[in-house]
């Protein structure tokens, strides 16, 4: 699975990682029993502090999506893959509408976040 972070984003790095893993599990890219890369290796590859990665792993553990085991690292325990096809279809429509309205990805994300908080 691809782990990616955007250094220009306002979202804290650990939260970006948490979102990635959540999404990976929901999409079925990460299955139960699969191992996440060791925190140090992921930190080095993404040029970020190992504690930031560990912070993300702890959040995921508290959400019940992964288990942290000594010696075995982070193992996915999360729920089985959810059906995201409706969300993906709606997203396509949203992206198209946002492009037509010449909204930036940031502005669109803000709108989406506000809508979801309502």
């Amino acid at each position: 699975m691809i782990f990616r972070i955007d250094t220009a984003s306002d979202e804290p790095l650990f939260e970006q990682l948490v979102s990635r893993v959540r999404l990976g599990i929901a999409r079925g890219e990460l299955r139960a029993g699969e191992r996440l890369p060791p925190a140090r290796e992921l930190g080095t590859a993404l040029d970020m502090n190992v504690h930031t990665v560990l912070h993300a792993y702890q959040v995921l553990r508290d959400e019940g999506l992964i288990e942290l085991r000594r010696g075995r690292g982070a193992v996915v325990t999360g729920p089985a893959k959810a059906d995201l096809s409706a969300v993906e279809r709606a997203l396509e429509t949203l992206v198209q509408a946002a492009r037509e309205a010449r909204l930036s990805p940031e502005a669109t994300t803000t709108l989406l976040k506000e809508a979801m908080k309502r």
Binding site: I2, F3, R4, D6, T7, P37, D47
Partner: protein, 331 residues
Amino acid sequence: MTHTLADVWKPRARRVTAWSALAGLAILLAGLAIALSWRAELPDQVASHWGPGGAPDEFMPVEAFAGVMLGTGALCIAVLGAIGLLLGRSASTLRLAAGLTVWISGMLSAMTLISLSAQRGLADAAQTPFSGSDLVLAMLVPAVPGVVAALLVPRDRAVPAEAAVPADALRLGLSQDERAVWFARATGGSGLVVGGGAIALTTVIAVVTGTWALLAVPALLLPATVATFVFVVRVDTEGLTVRSALGWPGTHVPADEVVRADVVDVHPLRQFGGWGWRVGLAGQVGVVLRGGQGLRVEQTGGRSLVVTVDDARDAAALLNTMAERARTPGR
């Protein structure tokens, strides 16, 4: 330069094949010379094969025995030499060929000498004792010079790609501020089953027959199976890294040497003649653990690497993107 870029690997392949073949032959001939120097003390017919009960069941003159050893060794050296000369594009392939050449020659010499030295002074070769631990030693000790030979092979020279990543190669939409890494585990179902089966079988045989020296086989097979059939694969700014779950063996393709990366359909038997760490018919190195989807990386110097992973599309797209970044200084 008389070599085209595609031929740059050939001089090194010739040199490595030459010295490893000479070393192997020297080891065989030394074993032969020592064996023949014992001729006067050996029975007319020496034991050359031992049955399952530990008693010798085949006999031949010492000259014939030594000749079989030399012939077998020469054949192995010729086959491994041909692999090095024809397919040795990557350092890893040459390491394998040179290491095996020296190891197998050493093993043949050592086995011949160990079985003959037990027969010195015997009137009748039928009394020759069989020592399992000696046999294990004869297999393991020559691995040391084998590893040394493998390490003597010069590493691949850095050959940065000059041309841009082709436009039709997969890409990942990654902005300037984004960082990304792709991780996967490559495992081989059939390889693990065969390895596990062999470990269980040899353990049972060793326990049932009480041949304790035979336990060395599963003890060696266990790490060998893990080392050959479980790999961690990573794509990041540095390029592609393929590493066994044990940490060794492994290989790395630097991002600036990636010509292009693609998704391919892998047929282990047809393309690589089997599973595991393989060398294909076109000299491509394969970490082939199962059939189906795989990532193929074409590297400068005519080298290429195939790894069987799920999700190879993302890996290829990210690797091409990283290769492109590596070609743009300041990024």
